[in-house]
């Protein structure tokens, strides 16, 4: 066995080191110098340092680049990992922008530091290739997120949301760990390539199927896929807005990267068959069920929502359904469509939460009707919201459309890993058709939001909204990104 390559490991972990250093700097400087300052200035300085750390991490990540397997395969820096790390870091940067738009919480520096720790978890999730590191990264991210969701001491809903999220998350973590231990017991390895190699030699045993299902429960939790989505609406509603934004964007992108790496390169040999005539056991049929359930639950339940955050939560569940389609075809079509979809979805949902955050700081924004007359109160916010919501709804030429287009086109055209899952008549193709039909339902609730923002007159006495500069910049950048990625989708698609 080769001697452990500590230098390579340190090099690969440079971005994480930058983030941790940034978090410590944020905490230390705040403690030493800014205690006496107002919350606003403490938040601003913390965001400035945090943003620098994130930018440095992006730069380091790009410099380290596509380094391959690191430290005996604990980490893998393939193009997917590099791209996902950049994506996660960018989404964190946008989340910082959202944070500048809100009224600051009681401990702004700690808040930013924990976001940075969560980001460390995300970047590790994007590159982890060993079950132990997978679990550790996941837990680092989850624990940080539990804290972030419950950070608003002033609102009881925040604590309630954090508790629900924590209980749900803890239980799914237990399932995941149980599943991992079974996998280790069955294969004698915790390295994904080795597990894959062992599993490829044998037919799946019932115990393996139980282990796979346990892993998928955790996946369903992370991706907010039905029926493991129940935490999402409550958490989105109760959490401070930047936390909700991070939950919906960075966390989701990192989780998808982690699980798609776990499922295809690791457990691809036990994906199973889902041909209508012949179902062989494996994880693929489970994912099909999760996808269908998510699409139905997300789109239909969103129709009944009057709260804008719960609506975004159900929209996130519906989008999770589409992402699961992307996971199913990732084995044959590659990760590019899924990554493009998750990244652009992250940008638009962060943007939408950013608009909510700004409004929240200036009179509150809970119900959809609170958006009424936004075009009069702040044309900038209304314009950005238009871009974000239309991208979520998948209207060309915005990025959201091409995300859906690439996934559906691949689902309907290619044969899939087993040669028989795709196509218009294959199971994945049928899920795609269902998703396309449900897009029509989705238009209804997205347009209901836009109708309030762009058509309805403002409420009596509603004042114009002044948008803080940093938040305005963030929103405009996000909107421009969505337009540009929509106009030049190949930039991301051909990045792999």
């Amino acid at each position: 066995m080769n001697p452990p390559d500590y230098a390579g490991l340190a090099r690969a972990l440079l971005p994480e080191a930058a983030l941790v250093l940034g978090a410590l700097l944020v905490l230390g400087l705040d403690l030493l110098f800014f205690r006496k300052h107002s919350r606003e200035s403490r938040l601003r300085s913390a965001v400035a340092i945090g943003a620098l750390a994130v930018v440095a991490a992006i730069g380091l990540n790009l410099r380290v680049g596509d380094a391959g397997s690191v430290f005996g395969g604990v980490l893998v820096l393939d193009p997917l990992a590099v791209a996902a790390r950049v994506g996660v870091l960018l989404l964190t940067l946008l989340t910082f922008g959202v944070a500048t738009g809100t009224a600051p919480l009681r401990h702004p520096a700690e808040y930013i530091a924990i976001i940075l720790f969560a980001t460390v978890g995300f970047t590790l999730m994007a590159a982890a290739q060993q079950l132990l590191l997978v679990f550790l990264a996941l837990e680092l991210a989850s624990l940080s997120l539990y804290v972030l969701v419950g950070f608003d001491h002033a609102r009881p809903e925040s604590a309630e949301a954090a508790l629900k999220y924590f209980l749900f998350g803890g239980m799914s973590a237990a399932f995941l760990l149980f599943g991992f231990s079974l996998l280790y017991g069955l294969t004698g390895s915790i390295d994904l390539p080795a597990i894959g190699a062992v599993l490829a030699k044998h037919d799946p045993q019932p115990l393996l199927l139980v282990a796979l299902t346990m892993v998928l429960v955790a996946f369903g939790f992370k991706a907010a896929a039905a029926p493991f989505h129940l935490w999402a609406p409550d958490a989105y509603q109760g959490a401070p807005t930047p936390s909700a934004a991070l939950l919906a964007s960075g966390s989701k992108l990192a989780g998808l990267t982690l699980f798609v790496r776990l499922l295809w390169p690791g457990l691809g040999s036990v994906a199973g068959h889902i041909n209508p005539k012949y179902i062989s056991p494996g994880w693929l049929p489970v994912v099909v069920l999760l996808a269908v359930a998510s699409l139905l639950v997300g789109n239909f339940a969103a129709l009944a929502q009057t709260n804008i955050r719960r609506l975004l939560a159900y929209s996130a569940i519906a989008h999770a359904g589409v992402m699961l389609v992307g996971v199913m075809i990732a084995g044959s079509a590659g990760f590019a469509p899924l990554f493009y979809y998750a990244a652009t979805y992250g940008i638009s949902t962060v943007g939408a939460f950013g608009v909510i955050a700004v409004l929240e700081g200036r009179g509150g924004c809970q119900r959809i009707t609170d958006l009424a007359g936004l075009h009069r109160r702040s044309p900038l916010l209304a314009g950005c919201l238009l871009v974000f919501v239309l991208s979520l709804a998948g209207i060309p030429p915005l990025a959201g459309f091409f995300g859906k287009f690439y996934i559906f086109a691949d689902a309907l055209s290619i044969g899939g890993a087993t040669g028989e899952i795709g196509g218009a008549t294959g199971p994945v193709g049928r899920v795609a058709v269902l998703a396309i039909l449900l897009s029509a339902v989705a238009f209804y609730y997205y347009l209901a939001v836009l109708k309030q923002a762009l058509v309805a007159p403002p409420a009596e006495g509603a004042a114009p909204v002044r948008v803080p500069l940093a938040a305005a910049l963030t929103l405009v950048v996000a909107a421009v990104l969505l337009v540009l990625l929509g106009l030049f989708p190949t930039v991301l698609i051909n990045g792999f």
Binding site: V210, L230, L289
Partner: protein, 674 residues
């Protein structure tokens, strides 16, 4: 230094750029618009001189630069640029006269609110005219031809708030369009027969021997050679543009435009484009000369049309009272001379006269503009008078122009160019009739110009405006002086003793003759000029007009003839009675068909559609929409029902998690068992 044919596009491109800048300049940007226009024109003049310098190296050569515009099936449509002495001389003339007229306009249009628009249109015209000159393709020439027509329309109607100007613009555009229809047909026919519209293309162009032989070889209806038919169709365009009989009626009306426009477009350049066109396609027009058993040669038609126009214009000009209309009819008459020269086989003489005429006619028009500007837009010669003393520079320059136009011997350029045409007509072996018509027109030209001079400049002012006229600023008089110098000097480029211009244009060295060769004819024409001048002075100069209302001496002598001439021989009335009335009947018929027959059919179909729409609506609203509404309500209800399941109770959530896991495991495992 020379300008190669590849860069000759710069010459039209510069005024085009100036026009674009002018179009984008707001009304206040007078200096910018005018400055750009004049600068572009001056640079174009310098470039034209360089181009001429290059073209003179080998006058017989036609330097071309051809390129493919687009592919049409397996054929290509080519465009090209051409640089030969004909093009280069015209370029120099147009840019030089154009620059002077642009400068003159600075003063003339000073008070106009739409100053920038005026310069934009002028530059557009200049760009189109220069493009027309450098074209090596009948198609490119036609495109520019139509563009100069458009610019002419815009500029005649520049004061469109005057109904007469708007009507004149319309008349000019439509009348020339009639000729252009023939041009277009000829062009299409030519393309169909030869597969090319390039003039010179290394032996494959439509003006080169190989292609022309094919055109003369075949005949069309009536025994005409194909080249004759195509040539006559193209000649229709020239008839329209150059105001030849019978389409001359628009040119006098075009004087409604600002006077610089009349000088530039309707005297010096655009109207000469028809002459230029025939000179350019001269090999095509002359291709049938060798054929013997054809009913008519194309050039014979050209010669007679030219002779008729020359005489007609001169006759009508005698009885006009508007200073610009007199000059307009003299333009018609002089263009007739040029056509006559082309017809009798002397294109070099035609171009010589074109060039000299451009200078002295621009001079006369600018002089008239100077008078009009000074006299506060009084154009009636009966109400002017006595300006000789009040406007000395204008008077001197105008006199030079007038003598050049009348063909005063030896010193003035008009004499030499007109002599060239008369000599060519004399040597024409088909008929001597055009020569006699031309000689008659010589007398008349001298006569009516003397009348004009006497009425405008001699005697005393017969109106308030004329009495208070005073000389214009230098921006208007300097161009007059420069043009006056040219009106004299230019004649010496083409005297029989030194036929430089003729040898350059034909590309062959021409032996100098004695100045007095063919002296008989020259003596005759000098006598005729003298007779015209003397007669004019006898009638108008000796007893100067005292009152504006007094009758014209000719009117008292021959009232019937004078009235007919003043009425321009009734061409407009004749057209109104025939063409317009026919057109009106056709329009009424079309209107009836449109309203009653087609309109009725359409409204019947419309009501049918309306009925179908009603049926459709009831089906849609009650059947489909109702169904969709209830379906949508169902969809929404699903959401409502579902959200009732989301209780917010953590125990329930965790129970769902566990149940979900168990169900999934069962499905997977049992699914595998099957």
């Amino acid at each position: 230094m020379t300008l190669s044919v590849q860069s000759v596009w710069l010459i039209p491109a510069l005024p085009l750029l100036a026009a674009a800048i002018g179009a984008l300049t707001p009304r206040g940007g007078r200096k910018l618009a005018a400055g750009c226009a004049i600068a572009a024109m001056s640079v174009a003049f310098v470039l034209s001189c360089l181009a001429l310098n290059g073209a003179l190296v080998n006058p017989a050569q036609h330097a071309v630069f051809n390129f493919v515009w687009f592919d049409l099936g397996h054929r290509t449509v080519d465009l090209g640029l051409l640089l030969d002495p004909l093009t280069a001389l015209m370029l120099v003339m147009v840019t030089f006269v154009g620059t002077l007229i642009f400068i003159f306009s600075l003063g003339y249009m000073k008070e106009d609110a739409n100053f920038t628009r005026f310069f934009c249109f002028l530059s557009l015209f200049a760009a189109a005219m220069l493009g027309l000159l450098v074209a090596n393709s009948l198609l490119l020439l036609f495109v520019c031809w139509e563009l100069v027509g458009l610019a002419s329309y815009l500029l005649i109607g520049f004061w469109f708030h005057k109904p007469s100007a708007a009507a004149a613009a319309k008349k000019a555009f439509i009348t020339t369009r009639i000729g252009d229809l023939g041009f277009l047909l000829g062009m299409l026919w030519l393309y169909n027969s030869t597969q090319t519209l390039l003039f010179y293309d290394g032996g494959h162009g439509c003006l080169e021997t190989g292609v022309l032989a094919g055109l003369t070889g075949s005949t069309v209806a009536g025994g005409l050679a194909l080249s004759t038919a195509i040539g006559l169709l193209i000649f229709c365009g020239a008839v329209g543009k150059s105001g030849q009989f019978p389409l001359h009626v628009w040119l006098p009306d075009a004087m409604e435009g600002p006077t610089p426009v009349s000088a530039l477009i309707h005297a010096a350049t655009m109207v000469a484009a028809g002459v230029f066109l025939i000179a350019r396609v001269y090999p095509l027009m002359a291709a049938d000369q060798l054929l013997e058993h054809v009913p008519v040669h194309a050039l014979t038609v050209v010669a007679f049309i030219g002779a008729i126009t020359a005489l007609l214009g001169a006759v009508i000009a005698v009885a006009q009272n508007d200073i610009k209309r007199i000059l307009a009819f003299s333009t018609v008459s002089q263009l007739g001379y040029m056509m006559l020269a082309l017809g009798v086989g002397a294109p070099a003489a035609a171009i010589f006269h074109l060039l000299t005429h451009a200078f002295f006619k621009a001079l006369l028009f600018l002089g008239a503009g100077s008078v009009i500007h000074a006299a506060h837009h009084e154009q009636d010669i009966r109400r002017l008078g006595g300006l000789r003393l009040r406007m000395r520079v204008t008077f001197a320059a105008f006199t030079a122009g007038m003598l050049a136009l009348a063909g005063f011997p030896f010193v003035f350029s008009g004499f030499w160019s007109k002599e060239g045409i008369l000599h060519a007509a004399h040597e024409w072996d088909v008929s001597q009739l055009p020569l006699y018509m031309g000689l008659t027109a010589v007398v008349l030209t001298a006569f009516y110009m003397t009348r004009l001079m006497a009425e405008v400049f001699f005697g005393h002012g017969r109106s308030h405006e004329a009495e208070h006229a005073h000389e214009n600023p230098a921006v208007m008089t300097v161009p007059l002086v420069l043009l006056a110098i040219c009106a004299v000097v230019l004649g010496f480029l083409g005297t029989p003793a030194w036929p430089w211009l003729q040898s350059v244009l034909t590309g062959k060295a021409i032996e100098p003759h004695s100045i007095f060769e063919g002296g008989g004819l020259m003596l005759l024409s000098i006598i005729l000029v003298g007779a015209g001048l003397g007669l004019g002075w006898a009638v108008y100069g000796r007893r100067l007009r005292q009152k504006a209302e007094a009758a014209d001496p000719l009117q008292t002598a021959m009232p019937g003839v004078f009235a007919a001439l003043a009425d321009r021989l009734g061409f407009d009335e004749f057209y109104a009675a025939t063409v317009f009335r026919l057109n009106a009947y056709a329009a009424a018929l079309a209107d009836f068909l449109d309203r009653r027959v087609w309109g009725g059919l359409v409204s019947f179909l419309g009501s049918l559609g309306e009925f179908a729409g009603l049926v459709n609506r009831s089906v849609d609203e009650d059947g489909l929409n109702g169904g969709f509404d209830s379906f949508s309500e169902g969809v929404r209800g699903t959401g409502q029902r579902y959200s009732r399941l989301q209780t917010g109770e953590v125990h329930g959530y965790l129970r769902t998690l566990a149940i979900g896991f168990v169900v999934l495991v069962l499905i997977v495992v049992l699914g595998g068992v099957r």
